[in-house]
């Protein structure tokens, strides 16, 4: 199709728009971070953001390349089955809103481990929580880097492995620079700007697609089915309906999506950038509205891409499924809209990667270095120094991982990160907030058990080997039939948390339990912090 061929002619324009965006955001990051002095400044942006700002930043964090490129592509190619991603990703916010966000804001300081180890034994729980944080961030980073690879191969027409590797390296290096310079405050501002641009861009494209079909959703759906030549595009089952195993896989994916969000460390960390629990609530509400609207747009964009471009052309394009949104932008508004949309998508990846990296770095520096290795005998200054070094190390891991994960559907890869988060973190978060009897042994069993189950099942699933689309297509060690481990690993982690607790002879401190419960519900000590 002409669209793909024409793309290469506009490479320079795309790069120019992208460069302008990077330059502007770098200036903002530098300005925002001028007074990053304390650890609270670096990790939690001095707790200075309002609910609205933080909610927009959360939306920015959450509407990653997975949402934009991945879901649009999934709907364009798999039709109705792709829609599940939108619904699962959105409904999951209710878990965060009702059960986690405010209580967590009231009990923690910088990281997820602060909450989990509040009334349990420091060392084992912190190490476990930091380990799972690093694992979840790694999976999420893989997805973002894969998205970067797809986008670049489409835009620059670079289809050789080495060329894409170079560009992923450049993106990774830029990301390291953002985080080093800006810390949480700079990162948050980048997220806010990017969320605004992304939602605005998607909105314009949605209106455009709808206008081309007389603002008649039914006509759009009809056109999509017609172009694709498959009326099944509008019905469930196109991707997951084939066998009993694939139906079970759909269920597993649904479970991971809805339970993953409230356990994502980089999302949880965002709740610390606001001064009060009420602002934390307000930020979730903002996030839910923005994210919900955006996912309604992606429904139109996905079917729009199916209608105007066609599933076959999309899957054949460099970048594969992930190229649906940029191709649609080119079809609609030519090189200019494509340049804008791909700059925004690039920025999305950059910003999300920055957010993930800072979370992983904070977790390592605060939980492992400061509280476990140095046992609290360290200054905030040296902790931030360690965090900055960790950023560089994680950046390098992300670049290498991204080079290998290149080419997979981004939404699908992110769903794996959700499964790992829901298995390793969610049971312990909920138990420690709501179950008085919960003990250290329960937490450690649940976190390591859930993490190990999820990671091992992924390693032996068709994602890694045994199928044409696997990361290592030649190898065959996939004895686990489902591509998402959630349906096994999440219940297992809940069970292990319960079992570890009832078998634990030690009782946890009732004083600490009382303190945690009172703090979490009333915000004592947490509320005034921002006013001093």
């Amino acid at each position: 199709m002409a669209a793909v061929a024409n793309l290469k002619d506009t490479t320079w324009l795309n790069m120019l728009i992208f460069a302008v965006f990077v330059a502007i955001t770098l200036v903002i990051v530098l300005r925002a971070s001028r007074n990053n002095r304390t650890a609270a400044d670096y990790y939690a942006a001095g707790r200075s953001f309002t609910g609205g700002q933080n909610g927009t930043a959360i939306a920015g964090d959450y509407l990653s390349a997975a949402s934009f490129l991945g879901i649009t592509g999934a709907i364009a190619v798999n039709g109705y089955d792709g829609f599940l991603y939108s619904i699962g990703f959105l409904v999951a916010w209710l878990v965060a809103l009702l059960l986690v966000a405010e209580l967590l804001r009231n009990t923690g300081k910088f990281t997820m481990a602060d909450v989990l180890s509040f009334r349990l034994k420091q060392r084992p729980v912190r190490i476990a929580a930091a380990t799972s944080t690093l694992a979840v961030c790694f999976f999420y980073l893989l997805a973002q880097m894969a998205g970067a690879g797809s986008l670049i191969s489409l835009l620059l027409g670079i289809s050789d492995w080495g060329g894409q590797a170079v560009v992923i390296t450049v993106v990774g290096a830029l990301m390291i620079l953002y985080v080093l310079l800006g810390g949480m405050k700079g990162t948050t501002w980048v997220q806010i700007i990017k969320a605004g641009l992304l939602i605005a861009g998607a909105f314009v494209m949605t209106i455009w697609v709808m206008a081309m079909h007389g603002f008649d959703l039914s006509a759009l759906l009809g056109h999509a089915a017609e172009t694709t030549g498959n009326p099944q595009l509008l019905n469930p089952g196109l991707q997951y309906g084939k066998t009993d195993a694939s139906k079970l896989d759909f269920l597993s994916l649904a479970l991971a999506l809805v339970l993953g969000t409230a356990a994502l460390p980089h999302v949880l960390m965002r709740f610390y950038t606001v001064p009060t629990a009420k602002e934390a609530r307000r930020s979730v509400v903002w996030a839910i509205w923005l994210i919900g609207l955006f996912y309604l747009f992606t429904l139109v964009l996905g079917y729009g891409a199916a209608a105007l471009i066609g599933a076959k052309t999309i899957t054949a394009a460099p970048g594969g499924v992930n190229s649906a949104a940029p191709l649609l932008a080119f079809e609609l508004g030519g090189p200019l809209l494509l340049g804008f949309i791909s700059a925004v998508a690039f920025a999305t990846i950059l910003a999300v990667v920055a957010g993930l990296t800072i979370t992983a770095a904070a977790s390592f520096a605060h939980d492992i270095y400061s509280n476990v290795i140095a046992k609290g005998r360290t200054s905030a200054l040296s902790e931030v120094k360690v965090a900055r070094r960790t950023v560089v190390v994680i950046g390098i891991f992300a670049i290498v991982g991204g080079i290998f994960a290149n080419g997979q559907n981004v939404a699908f890869l992110v769903a794996l990160a959700f499964a790992v988060a829901a298995s390793a973190n969610l049971p312990t978060i909920l138990y420690s907030l709501f179950w008085k009897r919960f003990t250290t042994q329960g937490a450690v069993w649940s976190m390591y058990g859930g993490l190990a189950a999820a990671v091992i099942l992924i390693a032996f699933s068709p994602v890694v080997s045994g199928a044409k689309t696997s990361m290592i297509p030649g190898a065959h060690f996939a004895w686990f039939g489902l591509s998402n481990p959630g349906i096994v690993s999440i219940p297992l982690a809940f069970f292990l948390g319960w079992l570890g607790t009832v078998l634990d002879k030690n009782k946890e401190s009732e004083v600490k339990q009382a303190e945690m419960e009172v703090r979490s519900l009333t915000g004592i000590g947490a509320e005034k912090a921002a006013h001093h």
Partner: protein
């Protein structure tokens, strides 16, 4: 978690007897209000979500019924998930503003006020 648990170095709640606060009727009431709202609601929206997922997964014929033009039952169910998510969000916010926040603020100010008095005495 020692000193680290506190949000600021000068924690106004550093020497509060939390077990005492936990045992007060006012706190028990706050806890009851919170849990009796969020738990049933969490169960309800998860059931509703999984009803949708199971229908989309196993009742393809039902979900493929066309209601109007190319709009299917499945699409409507999906969009209803958006509607219910927005509705629950607004409902919870209004409940929290009316029934949870005033109570929490009340408990917080009474403890923190008490603390400030205690510190003055020490000086």
């Amino acid at each position: 978690m020692g000193k680290d648990a506190h949000i600021t170095d000068a924690d106004p709640a550093a020497s509060v007897d939390f077990q005492e606060v936990q045992a007060t009727g006012q706190f028990q009431e706050l806890r009851r209000r919170h849990r009796s709202f969020v738990f049933p609601l969490a169960v309800a929206f998860l059931l509703w979500y999984f009803l949708y997922v199971l229908l989309a997964d196993y009742a393809h014929d039902f979900m493929s019924i066309k209601v109007a033009g190319n709009i299917t039952v499945g699409l409507l169910f999906g969009l209803l998930q958006f509607v219910s998510t927005f509705a629950i969000t607004m409902w919870y916010v209004s409940y929290a503003n009316r029934r949870l926040d005033p109570e929490a603020t009340d408990i917080r100010t009474s403890i923190e006020g008490h603390e400030h008095d205690a510190k003055k005495v020490q000086r």
